[in-house]
């Protein structure tokens, strides 16, 4: 067991014993920065959507914490909850567009305020490509971990990653051509 794993076990045990805010604060402090960066990458930036997803994820995590069996690291488990939260939020947003409650955006259109070409390009990727690209190339999960923890088979993860990288390269090259006239 790694040192970090042992620390997480101790913090979780302390929280489950006391259910105190202080014990929760220790867990929060240890993991929230990474969870927020993950959520923000999925959302395309560190905005309120990412914060909302992290808040909801903590609520789900605390509800299920006493059933967590330590078959993965606590961080990985929490990232799975964040990913599912992002998927649900994305589905809700698409349903709103389908019901014409808001003007639908162009498919894959980047946030108007996004000035980072890499962020813009990633936001243009289809959700499946974006997930795997972020999980593997940014967050550093292996295909085996992605298959075990995030509901994406290993074969799908590999093929999605290949296509995501190619699509991202194409988008970035197109972006370079446009900016250089």
């Amino acid at each position: 067991m790694t040192h970090e794993h042992a620390d997480d076990r101790a913090l979780v045990a302390a929280f489950l014993r006391s259910r105190s805010e202080r014990a929760f604060a220790d867990l929060y402090e240890r993991h929230t920065a990474a969870l927020f960066r993950f959520a923000a990458r999925l959302c395309g930036g560190p905005g309120p959507e990412a914060a909302d997803i992290v808040q909801e994820s903590w609520a789900r995590a605390v509800e299920r914490l006493d059933g967590f069996r330590w078959q993965s690291s606590l961080r990985t488990w929490l990232c799975g909850i964040v990913l599912n939260g992002w998927r649900e939020a994305s589905r809700r947003e698409r349903r709103r567009h389908d019901l014409a409650l808001v003007d639908p955006p162009e498919p894959g259109a980047p946030e108007p305020a996004m000035s980072d070409p890499l962020a813009s390009a990633i936001q243009e990727l289809p959700p499946g490509y974006r997930e795997v690209l972020i999980l593997h190339d940014v967050e550093g999960f292996t295909h085996v971990e992605i298959a075990r923890e995030f509901g994406i088979s290993e074969g799908t993860s590999k093929s999605q990653l290949h296509r995501a990288r190619r699509a991202l390269r194409d988008l970035l090259e197109k972006g370079n051509e446009v900016s250089h006239g």
């Binding site: 960066r37 903590w58 609520a59 509800e63 890499l118 290949h162």
Partner: protein
């Protein structure tokens, strides 16, 4: 084994775009996210709400008040009761309802009137305990401690550290203890200090905001 041409992961050029691994590494969660999250957890009954911990301040306050009051009542002589009563520690969990933290620094000068009789001592213990409990039940009380009067002053003179016995601070006297309370302003903190028993018996209470 022949390679599967359908294995798309065999990209001849699987180079990551520059900057991908570092993308977003400086992003940090908003400061208010913690409070929002805890509020939501409280509302869902997923963490023990702050008010349910008031049993601790009330139960602890009696022990703390006894430590504090006995220390004052003994007029600086160490009382055997002090060895039996657990000292208050900052590990006791309390939750600020709002605002900042303020230190109430309790000074004891020659004007301070110790309790002269056993009954008077008991009354003082009850009085301090009631004050601490009241602050605890309002979610204001954070911490406190009685300080040993046999302290030490350290300062540098002629390049050397010299160690002295504490000297009375003019009209205020010796620093004898402190409370930490929660308040949103000096006016509010002073309002909380006004009925501190220490004042009633000739002590001085200095109120200072703790910078965060």
């Amino acid at each position: 084994m022949a390679e599967d041409p359908r294995d798309e992961s065999r990209d001849p050029d699987p180079v990551e775009p520059e900057g991908l691994r570092d993308w977003g590494h400086r992003w940090t969660p908003p400061a208010a996210l913690f409070e929002r999250t805890v509020t939501a957890l409280r509302a869902g009954g997923l963490v023990r709400p702050a008010r349910s911990r008031n049993w601790m301040p009330a139960a602890w306050a009696a022990a703390f008040a006894a430590v504090f009051a006995i220390g004052f009542l003994a007029g600086g002589r160490r009382s055997p009761e002090l060895d039996r009563i657990p000292a208050a520690t900052s590990n006791q969990e309390t939750t600020m309802q709002k605002g900042d933290r303020y230190a109430l620094l309790l000074f004891e000068s020659d004007e301070y009137r110790p309790a002269a009789t056993t009954d008077a001592r008991k009354d003082r213990v009850r009085e301090y305990g009631a004050w601490i409990r009241a602050k605890g039940e309002n979610g204001r009380f954070v911490d406190g401690a009685k300080l040993d009067k046999d302290g030490r002053w350290c300062r540098v003179r002629s390049g050397e550290v010299e160690v002295l016995d504490p000297v009375s601070d003019g009209a205020r006297g010796i620093l004898a203890g402190y409370f930490i309370l929660g308040a949103s302003s000096y006016d509010e903190a002073v309002g909380l200090a006004r009925d501190c028993p220490h004042l009633r018996y000739g002590g001085t209470v200095e109120v200072r905001r703790i910078e965060s």
